[in-house]
Amino acid sequence: MKLNTNSNIYTFVYMTIVVVIVAVLLALANQALKPRQDANILLDKQKQILGALKVDWMESDPAEIYYTLVNDTLTFGDKEVYVANVNGATKYVLPLSGKGLWGGIGGYLALDEDKNTIYGVNFNHEGETPGLGAKIVELPFRQSFEGKHIRNAEGSVVSVAVLKQGKLAEGQEQVDAISGATITSTGVSTMLNEELVNNYKEFLSELPAVEEETAEEENVESIEEEEE
């Protein structure tokens, strides 16, 4: 029997079958690959946190180092703060998220125990322009944040500004923006400001009451090995 491939009924049935087959196929693939993808996403997050903590994981298993360093998670509403112990000092890692030029940007900010000095920072982005905005993930830009203070002299949180070279911030510390990537740089600045001044208010308002965590004798040796 020769089918009339141009009849309406044939077309409807054909498309239905095609769509169902494709849907089943993709659903199966998604289910099968999900565990691996989730593992990758988690590993990526751990690597980024290690990056913010300036820990070199190149030659070993990042997940393992992560679990030896990061030993606590504080929750403030929907915000989480990771507490890490690097070379015997407590560091707080704050996840950040904001908007860049083409899509979302995010990052992790590691603060010293005084909740003021920036220890290290790591950024990520969904699709900033390669060679321009995408440079926020590169070391020179990230390193320019190190040692900056997120509080002003009075102790209130003012964040750090990302400004074009030559411009001066008022009442807060600053780093140089990436030339040619004004919107991404502004996005980083806004993200830091928004997150630190508003979203992490609760965490940052409790100033460290002198040394409470009697750092339980951690495996000091393994930590020392991680020194760069």
Binding site: Y10, V18, V22, L26, A29, L33, Q37, I41, G127, G180
Partner: protein, 206 residues
């Protein structure tokens, strides 16, 4: 097995004489977006090659059953399914690369080369020929991407595949990376240069 002349033309034609990018001017948009560095350009070229070849095969297999009035939709469904599959696989096994290609991976769906090959070739040709045609066109596309990305990464960042190739002493002597190369406009100009070179070489042959 010696390849027949027709097979050779199907496979190798798109690499040069009938190149999808420089002769048919298809797929330019993604060529501009992913050619700042060599690595994403390579991965993109491979991904497109696999997807064109496979969708060509699938469409060629079912070409006699496809209702003519909705053939473009069927082709699109096939391409979209393959692209989603490739993107899922990359996320599971090459997460870094998937992140680097970000949206452009999904945008392969709208790459004109795919629809062009499906409509012009796979709908009317046998499976094996369609596979070769897809392979050839994908590689032709990848070739142009790699040429453009090579020049852009070398002159724009002084690197190739992320490794520094222009020595520090050059920078000390006053050499500077050409920031212009990082802009999408420069990719268009470079593609233009490739087309120019390609046309003048092929002109001489005739």
């Amino acid at each position: 097995m010696a390849l027949s002349q027709k097979t050779k033309d199907t496979l190798l034609g798109p690499l040069n004489a009938n190149n999808p990018v420089v002769v048919q001017i298809l797929g330019i948009c993604s060529a501009l977006a992913v050619t700042v560095q060599l690595k994403p350009a390579l991965v993109m070229g491979i991904a497109v090659t696999i997807i064109v070849a496979m969708s060509n095969v699938i469409v060629s297999l079912i070409r006699n059953t496809i209702p003519m009035r909705v053939r473009i939709i069927v082709q699109l469904v096939v391409v979209a399914a393959l692209v989603t599959l490739v993107s899922e696989i990359l996320k599971a096994f090459a997460y870094d690369v998937a992140m680097q290609l970000s949206v452009y991976l999904g945008l392969i769906i709208t790459n004109c080369i795919l629809m062009g090959r499906l409509e012009a070739f796979a709908m009317t040709n046998k499976v094996w020929d369609s596979f070769l045609d897809g392979l050839g066109n994908g590689l032709g596309y990848a070739l142009v991407l790699v040429i453009v990305a090579f020049v852009r990464e070398l002159l724009g960042s002084g690197q190739l595949l992320g490794f520094q190739v222009i020595p520090e002493s050059f920078y000390a002597a006053g050499y500077e990376n050409c920031g212009m190369m990082l802009m999408p406009a420069m990719a268009l100009i470079l593609v233009g240069c490739v087309i120019w070179a390609h046309r003048s070489i092929n002109e001489e042959k005739k």
